[in-house]
């Protein structure tokens, strides 16, 4: 199981490698929820230090197709190890350009059953990332019968909403406030009227607005069970300090460090949906 970590700058590459990172995930202009706006300019340098996945996770509109083609060609020229996408269009264009075997399809909500894995194995892409809204039991069922590479986004603040609308910008327009510094600002939080103690990170970028869970996800125990079946384990970085991110990575390599991590950050993390069943319809009995 490879540890995939998001790279913020060139200076930290050795640090991440020493922590046990196997793959650098690098933002591109086709990424949303970016942690770096310019690191894509240094791909050839990063490639010298280790495996590189490119992040292209925005929803692809007609006007994005030419930029997508350009970036897939860059991925091919640079012999990139993987391309992480949220929109299946990236897979379609990757086949045209000859990098289909680099595609990791990570749509967030859609890869929820064993059949998806089988379907995409027939398409000959590199792999798929299992949805983060299903239980550990469901993940294991898919994983034990996997047909293609499988990955999991198993740590950090996980998004639960992706809108094309610029909701923060529009809010300040509604309030007639001349607010600057809205895009790519990591400091906004939401509370809901009846949940005043839950702070949901909200983030606006060129792709729209993203809302995240109030608690970050950790999978230290679950990874022990999943490790034989997972090819990539993604550690999300957005809204984490550098130190907390480094602590996170190390904790998946060292069980003692994991215990220390939980003790240090306990209140901030939970287990997501590993042990929670969602209702299919309102009022359904389980």
């Amino acid at each position: 199981m490879r540890i995939v970590a998001r790279l913020k700058n060139l200076e930290e590459m050795n640090k991440l490698i020493n922590l046990g990172v196997d793959v650098f995930l690098v933002d591109t202009p086709l990424a949303v929820k970016r942690i770096s706006l310019d690191i894509h300019n240094d791909i050839s340098e990063i490639k010298k230090h280790g495996k590189v996945y490119l992040l292209m996770n925005k929803m692809i509109h007609e006007t994005d197709l030419s930029v997508l083609g350009k970036w897939l060609k860059i991925a091919k020229e640079q012999n990139i190890d993987g391309i992480v996408c949220g929109d299946l269009t990236v897979m379609v264009k990757a086949e045209e350009i000859g990098v289909l075997d680099k595609i990791i399809y990570q749509p967030g909500t859609m890869n929820t059953n064993s059949f998806d894995n089988e379907y995409f194995s027939r398409k000959h892409l590199k792999g798929i990332t299992i949805s983060k809204e299903i239980t550990l039991e469901e993940i294991l069922k898919i994983a034990k019968d996997k047909k293609t590479e499988l990955s999991l986004l198993g740590h950090g603040f996980i998004d639960m909403f992706y809108s094309k609308r610029k909701l923060i910008t529009n809010y300040f327009k509604f309030k007639k406030e001349d607010k600057t510094d809205i895009l790519n600002n990591y400091n906004y939080r939401l509370t809901e009227e009846k949940r005043p103690d839950s702070l949901y990170p909200i983030f606006e970028d060129d792709g729209g607005t993203h809302i995240f869970r109030d608690k970050a996800l950790e999978s230290f125990e679950e990874v022990k069970e999943l490790r034989p079946y997972l090819d990539d384990f993604f550690i999300e970085r957005i809204f984490l300090s550098d130190d907390e991110y480094y602590d996170s990575i190390l904790s998946y390599k060292d069980e003692e460090k994991a215990k220390e991590f939980i003790a240090k950050y306990e209140d901030k993390y939970d287990k997501g949906f590993y042990y929670l069943y969602t209702e299919k319809i309102k009022g359904e009995e389980r």
């Binding site: 006007t63 197709l65 998806d116 909403f161 923060i168 809010y171 949906f273």
Partner: protein
């Protein structure tokens, strides 16, 4: 090929009303595999009933199977698909690969890709065409210009939403409901968490007032874009709202039917005519979504009531007593002698009349129609057809 007008139907009555009032096709969800399973009254027999009814009018029925499937959900899928084929459903609307693949393997059902997939470009539309998908329902986030570009470059038929509620998120990419109330938004459990009231903070400082950070979207109303959509030869124009009332469905379907027919007949009226018709039943604030490009505050609801008053729907015509000239109504809302009512027929005729006397089923004169679903008789010289809607115009 004329562009299709596609309407929602939450039950058999709504489906019939939608077809009678001008829809070319209806989409329904069964009790399984549909995001609106909660709203569905369509058991297997009822699906057959509406298919037979629609085909008798030379119209179509599509069945939604658009949940995001978990392994446990797949049980029964094959039998369901085979049944839909057996009763000659015209298409299924789905978003999971497992449905597409099983439908292809077992049947020759026409396959439409649901807007749950948020398909936004022609490259992906063409991929699905090669995968056996006949039509894709475009994401609601596309501008008119984008829709035209996708249409020019796509092999699939395109379906575009023109009216009704809108997810504020890309459809299929929201799990707010999952996280906040453990109801799976992509398996029919959406709690509309995006419509709740929020506060916004920056670096711990409260920026909003009285929970006025709201994400709610106004409903879509695309009358101003119908001409361009028809010029572009989009295959299907879709109305949202399987939970809406029969009055809403009749009114909205009828307005768009007139607009589309007027376009083809070269006699389009001022748009305010169609918009005023829609307003008789549309009880939510509307805007034009993404048709003009990225949304602004015009498309959002902030501290505003989304409900607005409409013409009151007071009853539906169930028959006519030719001999004694009585309309036979099924009551839906209160009215009394002296009220002016408007009859709104499936063929778009409207007739106003004043209520003189109201009689119950035993022909006792009553002072008001106050009981929902009560059968009542009204003296009326106009023979309105069955399923005509009766609205209150003014209350004297």
């Amino acid at each position: 090929m004329k562009t299709e007008l596609l309407a929602p139907a939450g039950n058999l009555e709504k489906a019939k009303i939608a077809l009678l009032y001008g829809a070319d096709a209806v989409y329904i969800g069964g009790k399984q595999f549909s995001l609106r399973a909660r709203a569905s009254n369509f058991g297997l027999d009822t699906i057959k009933d509406i298919v037979d009814y629609a085909h008798g009018m030379n119209k179509k029925v599509y069945v939604t199977m658009n949940i995001v499937f978990h392994d446990d959900d797949i049980f029964g899928l094959d039998d369901y698909l085979l049944y839909l084929k057996k009763i000659n459903v015209d298409a299924i609307i789905c978003s999971s690969m497992v449905v597409i693949e099983r439908a292809k393997e077992l049947t020759d059902l026409e396959i439409h890709l649901s807007t749950q997939f948020s398909l936004s470009n022609s490259a992906l539309a063409n991929y699905f065409y090669k995968e056996g998908v006949k039509r894709v329902v475009l994401a609601r986030e596309l501008s008119m210009e984008e829709i035209k570009e996708v249409q020019e470059n796509s092999l699939t038929d395109l379906e575009v939403f023109i009216h009704g509620g809108m997810c504020v998120s890309y459809s299929g990419r929201c799990t707010l409901s999952n996280y906040t109330v453990l109801r799976d938004a992509n398996r029919g459990g959406c709690a509309h968490t995006c419509r709740w009231l929020y506060d916004l903070y920056e670096n711990g400082k409260l920026l909003s007032e009285n929970h006025d950070f709201q994400m709610s979207s106004k409903d879509l109303e695309a009358t101003a874009y119908i001409k361009e959509l028809l010029d572009a030869k989009i295959s299907s124009l879709k109305i949202e709202g399987r939970m809406k009332s029969i009055h809403y469905i009749a009114t909205v379907v009828s307005a768009y039917r007139m607009l589309i027919d007027d376009y083809y007949n070269g006699c389009m009226r001022d748009l305010t005519f169609y918009q005023n018709e829609i307003q008789k039943a549309e009880n939510r604030q509307t805007s034009y979504g993404f048709f003009a490009g990225d949304t602004t505050i015009e498309q959002q609801l902030y501290n505003q009531r989304s409900e607005i008053p409409t013409k009151e729907f007071v009853g539906m015509v169930m028959g006519y007593d030719d001999e004694n000239k009585y309309l036979i109504l099924e009551q839906r809302n209160y009215f009394s002698p002296g009220d002016t009512l408007e009859i709104f027929t499936p063929d778009k005729t409207t007739i106003q009349f004043k209520v003189k006397e109201i009689y119950d089923e035993e022909f006792n004169s009553i002072d008001a129609a106050r009981h929902p679903l009560q059968k009542i008789y009204l003296k009326c010289l106009v023979k309105a057809p069955k399923y005509s809607m009766i609205r209150k115009v003014e209350n004297e």
